[in-house]
């Protein structure tokens, strides 16, 4: 039993354990928390090997899962520099979420904790899967509990919103599944490492056409999950309606599923498709950065505002990935973690606000800093992290992303940097209207953070500062892993058809006939069909004869 297996299955085991507990049992919280903390502690053991060599997959699990002649699916998981921190982020945030849920979820807690753990299981799987099929399975495993969390515990409009969330996400993942299956039909394997090897060694080549569509298939799933403009409309609705701990996890880790997928799968597997689309995606990402920021500027609801700010920040990550530069990719990964921490913290604190006030409308707040200075200070720090203040986590990611973008295409950096200005504007305005000013009659006795509330906040703050100040304790594995990914991207690109002609015109060009008229062409095609059948017959007969002999 490797460490990774433990990390993966502790939450699952705890999930089942909780399912068997009696309904409103107090133990469900303790079990969930213990399991989550244990997962975190165990997952810390993954770091060592990754630090030694971030480019290689370590702590791998390879189990045969489905072993039929036509489909060989291995339960292949592994950790490298890209996913190690995402895994740790997940395992770190889960105890926090559990603790947080204990504070803010009044009833049916057992279900809630169970779903949280199932969600963790799915996330860890998604982040560590090295088999496309397994990846897909975990992808859906992570989706379902979140759907249930939103649909069961959400706000007043939870029903339609949960359905929207589910259908939207599922639509994309189905396209991804189609791509996975097609890729399997080409390479004959679901295994990521094998597929990668096949593509980089040129054993399997994909035409530009295939690559483009495969890429778009994967991209659809990831783009919806991230989300990239204009596929983002599920996000604000879901974030607003979801219960606070779910929003916390949605924003902090679930959105990373998409960006992680983009970096892990689309970039190295389909270099042509990725390069071909990079420009458009970057433009979309930049539109997302500015658009999200502009929308955040005028939101009257705190959660909605943070949600739109998330859209903006995630645009940075996507932009970083599609610069195809070391700096951009590193920044993207770093930003994933940083965004997880900072936005997570914001949603966490927003959750406390909601719990105390019963509302998320900015107009219902004001002057909280006077009765609750600690709350205001902590919120300030999270907010500063979110707007990318140096020495706090987001800055490093944003800067590297922008730097990568600048190297790739300076215009991108120019436009994306506008988001940095706007982020300060919306966040500070929100802060001003929520925390500053004279307290109203409602907020005059606003309770400050209690010890119980501090517990989840402190690690997040510590992480923000640590990530922001001592980058090198996180960066080396990321850099080496990204270097590998980009190498693979280049290596497989060299075997890919760069500018292939669409098949039909290619054939016509070969024939030298040009375009034929409809009926003639149909007749030709039928004769082709005939010839094909004839050829088939001939080979079959020959086979049969040799067989008979």
């Amino acid at each position: 039993m490797s460490i990774l297996a433990l990390v993966l299955f502790i939450p699952l085991a705890a999930f089942f354990l909780i399912l068997f507990l009696p309904r409103e049992s107090k133990a469900s919280f303790s079990v969930a928390l213990l399991a989550a903390i244990a997962t975190f502690i165990v997952s810390a053991g993954l770091i060592g090997a990754t630090f030694k060599n971030g480019a290689q997959f370590s702590n791998t699990i390879v189990w045969n899962w489905i072993d039929s002649p036509s489909m060989h699916i291995r339960f292949h998981l592994g950790v490298d520099g890209i996913n190690i921190w995402l895994l740790l982020l997940t395992t770190l945030l889960l105890p926090i979420a559990v603790w947080f849920a204990d504070t803010v979820i009044p009833e049916r807690r057992k279900t809630f904790f169970a779903l949280l753990l199932l969600f963790e299981f799915g996330l860890i799987g998604v982040f560590s899967a090295l088999d496309l099929f397994v990846f897909y399975v975990f992808w859906e495993v992570a989706l379902v509990p979140m759907y249930l969390l939103v649909g069961t515990f959400g706000g007043p409009r939870r029903g339609p919103v949960a359905v929207k969330f589910f259908v939207y996400t599922f639509l994309g993942s189905v396209l991804m599944l189609a791509s996975i299956l097609y890729l399997h039909s080409q390479t004959g394997t679901f295994d990521y490492v094998d597929t990668m090897a096949a593509l980089t060694s040129g054993r399997v080549t994909l035409s530009s056409f295939q690559q483009l569509w495969l890429f778009l298939g994967f991209f659809a799933a990831f783009a919806i999950k991230v989300p990239i403009i204009p596929l983002h409309t599920w996000l604000p609705a879901t974030y607003v309606e979801a219960p606070a701990p779910a929003t916390f996890l949605l924003a902090a880790v679930m959105s990373k599923m998409g960006t992680y997928g983009l970096l892990r799968y689309t970039v190295p597997l389909f270099p042509y498709g990725a390069h071909e689309c990079a420009h458009w995606i970057a433009v979309l990402a930049i539109i997302g950065i500015i658009y999200g920021a502009l929308l955040a500027l005028i939101q009257p609801n705190i959660k909605r505002l943070i949600a739109y700010s998330s859209v903006s920040h995630l645009g940075f990550i996507v932009l970083g990935i599609f610069t195809f530069t070391q700096l951009g990719a590193d920044g993207a990964v770093y930003q994933m973690i940083a965004h997880g921490i900072s936005t997570g913290a914001l949603f966490l604190l927003a959750g406390y606000l909601e719990q105390r006030r019963g509302s998320m409308e900015i107009s219902d707040f004001g002057g909280i800093a006077t009765p609750a200075p600690a709350f205001a200070s902590v919120f300030m720090i999270a907010l500063l992290a979110s707007i990318g203040l140096p020495t706090l986590c987001n800055f490093i990611g944003e800067y590297l992303v922008l730097q990568g973008a600048a190297i790739a295409k300076f215009n991108w950096a120019v436009w994306a940097a506008i988001g940095v200005i706007l982020s300060a504007a919306y966040m500070l305005w929100m802060y001003q209207r929520t925390f500053l000013g004279k307290p109203t009659s409602y907020t005059a006795a606003f309770p400050d953070l209690t010890i119980r509330d501090w517990a989840p906040v402190l690690p997040l703050i510590a992480c923000m500062i640590w990530l922001g100040c001592y980058t090198q304790s996180f960066m080396p594995p990321i850099t080496s892993a990204n270097a590998r990914v980009l190498d693979q991207n280049r290596a497989s690109e060299q075997y890919q058809v760069r500018f292939a002609v669409p098949p039909s015109t290619g054939e016509a060009a070969q024939n030298g006939h040009g375009v034929k008229r409809g009926p003639q062409r149909a007749a030709d095609s039928f004769s082709c069909l005939g010839a094909r059948i004839r050829a088939l017959c001939a080979t079959e007969i020959a086979e049969a004869q040799t067989h008979a002999r």
Binding site: W234, L295, Q326, G367, I407, F410, F435, T479, A522, L529
Partner: protein, 616 residues
């Protein structure tokens, strides 16, 4: 050498005061705050004495901060003559103002908060000054911006304060946008952020006659400088930033932070030297800001606002100096400005303190008897800023104007006029506050020793600071462009200064009626200037409101909810339902129709297979 210790002391002060200040009590807070700055100051002195005479830059690598691909950014600290000057200003003036603040803030609620932020500010300012690469400089740059935000919004219960704080931060962010892009472009071009390496690389490149990459970098960085150093068009935050407590205005918005832009341009002078176009832009922007702000300063009635516009104006001077190539003159002016502007603010603060918060000049008058120390120390500052020899301002301003004259005489003339205006409004404020009859309601009293002592120290520096030969000290890095033995500009500028003082005396002491008369005569022009040329309103109408409107109506309600969500997403669902309804007609329940459809479909499949070519 452990340069990081310089940074550490204020940081410790910040952490201790920030985390435990509430429980520690005032004395301990004061001790930590002052103590940390004092330690820092003395450590700076120690370091400088050890490194003296600083013929070569001394740099120290603490740890690698970011390492990604070819880009390596270290936490590297650098001491050379430029940063030595700045270090002394920051820690020295900082110490003085800290001491002053102890007295000034004694009655405030958030005493610990104030000092922790103050220490934090020093920490970031020192990073800014000590950094040996652009990114680290940017850290300090943003950090001081944050502290500015926090301190401007010190009275966070008041909307004017929080608005001003937000404005400060956001406008600075716009400048940072330029800084950031400049930094990005630097890396794109030079693959490094280290000043030394960039300088070496630039040294091998030719001077750019037109717009080139260096010019672009220089201009982008200058955008950052305009934000931080309140140059046109991003100066708007600085007057509003007077919402903070007066020591803040003195330290951050007069002596140190706002000069960060100047420092940065001086620091990256190797870029500007290779981009004459950028230098011209710097000079023109500086010049324009100087006269523009000075003109506003004439009409302001809030004593801090007057000094704020004068700061903007003086910063313009500094940029003029930088723009015409007199970097050392610019830095020289930074120093002298730190002395006399800090003094001006502290004096104003003393007045305000004495009048229990009154800031309007129209409600002052005749205070020289009530608060003599403040009055006479302020006179030193006024003389210094007016460029009256032999006060500090005279030397630095003369250096700048001489350089401007050498560069382009029209710049000198405008600068000289500005100098006259400066002398006029400064003395206008001084006369209005300390002469004539008292027009206020509060009982005026002199400030305590803790506040007056710094005034005296600064007054001494304002008087004698001009004799510190900064240009000479810096000549190694920034050699004088030309030995300008020409005395004419000096004399002209002094004449202008004296004329300004005389005019102020005429209008506000000798013939006060005349002031009102002139005011009426100017009419709409006066209104325009008094309302700061409506720049804030123009920004509001041109940028802020449209942005909000577009975001709210067009983007949110229109694009996001209307177009994407309703039309696209829900529309997709509705479209699916509609098409389903349409196709539902096919399911008539008539099995024979189904069969016919199947037949048609199979025909289609055969044809498609035939035309496209089926499998295998």
């Amino acid at each position: 050498m452990n340069l990081w210790l310089i940074l550490l002391f204020p940081l410790i002060g910040f952490v201790l005061n920030g985390l435990f200040g509430k429980r520690l009590g005032k004395a301990a807070v004061t001790f930590f705050a002052i103590g940390s700055v004092t330690l820092s100051f003395f450590y700076v002195l120690y370091v400088l004495s050890r490194l003296w005479p600083l013929n070569t830059a001394y740099s120290e690598h603490s740890f690698t901060w970011i390492q990604s691909g070819f880009l390596q950014v270290g936490f590297d600290l650098l001491v050379d003559r430029l940063s030595a000057v700045m270090l002394l200003i920051v820690t020295g003036v900082g110490l003085v103002i800290h001491i002053y603040a102890v007295g000034y803030m004694a009655e405030e609620d958030g005493y610990y908060r104030f000092f922790s932020f103050f220490n934090l500010f020093l920490f970031f300012m020192l990073i800014l000054v000590l950094s040996s690469n652009l990114l680290l400089l940017f850290v300090g740059w943003e950090g001081v911006g944050l502290c500015s935000y926090l301190l401007v919004g010190y009275y966070f219960g008041e909307n004017w304060a929080t608005n001003a704080a937000n404005k400060a931060f956001i406008v600075n962010r716009i400048g940072d946008f330029g800084f950031m892009l400049g930094m990005l472009l630097t890396v794109v071009v030079f693959k490094t952020l280290d000043f030394g390496k960039i300088a070496a690389a630039v040294g091998t490149m030719p001077v750019e006659p037109t717009v080139g990459v260096i010019t672009a970098i220089a201009l982008l960085l200058f955008v950052g400088a305009t934000g931080k150093s309140a140059q046109f068009p991003l100066y708007v935050w600085l007057p509003d930033a007077m919402a903070g407590p007066t020591p803040v205005s003195a330290l951050i918005h007069a002596a140190t932070m706002v000069t960060a832009g100047v420092y940065m341009v001086a620091r990256t002078s190797f870029l500007y030297s290779h981009a004459p176009l950028a230098m011209n832009v710097v000079a023109i922007i500086g010049l324009f800001t100087a006269i523009f702000a000075a003109s506003i300063g004439i009409t302001q009635n809030d004593i801090k606002k007057v000094f704020a516009y004068s700061t903007v104006s003086q910063l313009g001077y500094m940029f003029l100096g930088l723009g015409v190539g007199a970097y050392s003159a610019g830095i020289f002016h930074v120093m002298t400005h730190a002395f006399f502007k800090a003094l001006l603010f502290l004096g104003a603060g003393s007045v305000i303190h004495g009048l229990s918060g009154e800031q309007d000049l129209r409600h002052m008058g005749g205070l020289r008897k009530a608060m003599p120390i403040t009055c006479w120390t302020l006179l030193f500052a006024c003389l210094a800023i007016s460029g009256i020899p032999p006060f500090a301002g005279f030397f630095s301003k003369d250096a700048i104007l001489s350089a401007a004259y050498a560069h382009a005489p029209w710049m000198f003339w405008i600068g000289a006029i500005t100098a006259g205006m400066t002398a006029f409004y400064v003395f206008r404020a001084w006369f209005l506050a300390f002469f004539g009859t008292y027009r206020g309601h509060h009982h005026a009293h002199e400030s305590p020793l803790l506040m007056t002592l710094p005034l005296v120290v600064l007054a001494a520096l304002s008087a004698g600071g001009g004799f510190i030969n900064i240009p000479g000290f810096l000549s190694q890095a920034y050699p004088s462009l030309a030995e300008h033995e020409n005395r004419t500009p000096m004399i002209i500028s002094v004449i202008f200064g004296v004329a300004g003082v005389a005019l102020a005396w005429l209008l506000y002491i000798a013939r006060p009626v005349l002031a009102d008369a002139w005011q009426h005569a100017a009419g709409p022009l006066y209104t325009l200037v008094e309302n700061k040329y409506y720049v804030d309103e123009i920004y509001g109408a041109l940028i802020v409101k449209p942005l909000e409107g577009i975001s709210s109506l067009v983007l949110w309600r229109g694009v996001d909810e209307g177009l994407i969500d309703t039309a696209f997403v829900s529309g997709l669902a509705r479209g699916a339902r509609g098409w389903g309804g349409l196709l539902r007609q096919l399911q008539s329940g008539r099995i024979r129709n189904y069969a016919t459809w199947v037949l048609a479909g199979s025909l289609l499949v055969i044809f498609v297979l035939g035309v496209v070519g089926g499998g295998r």
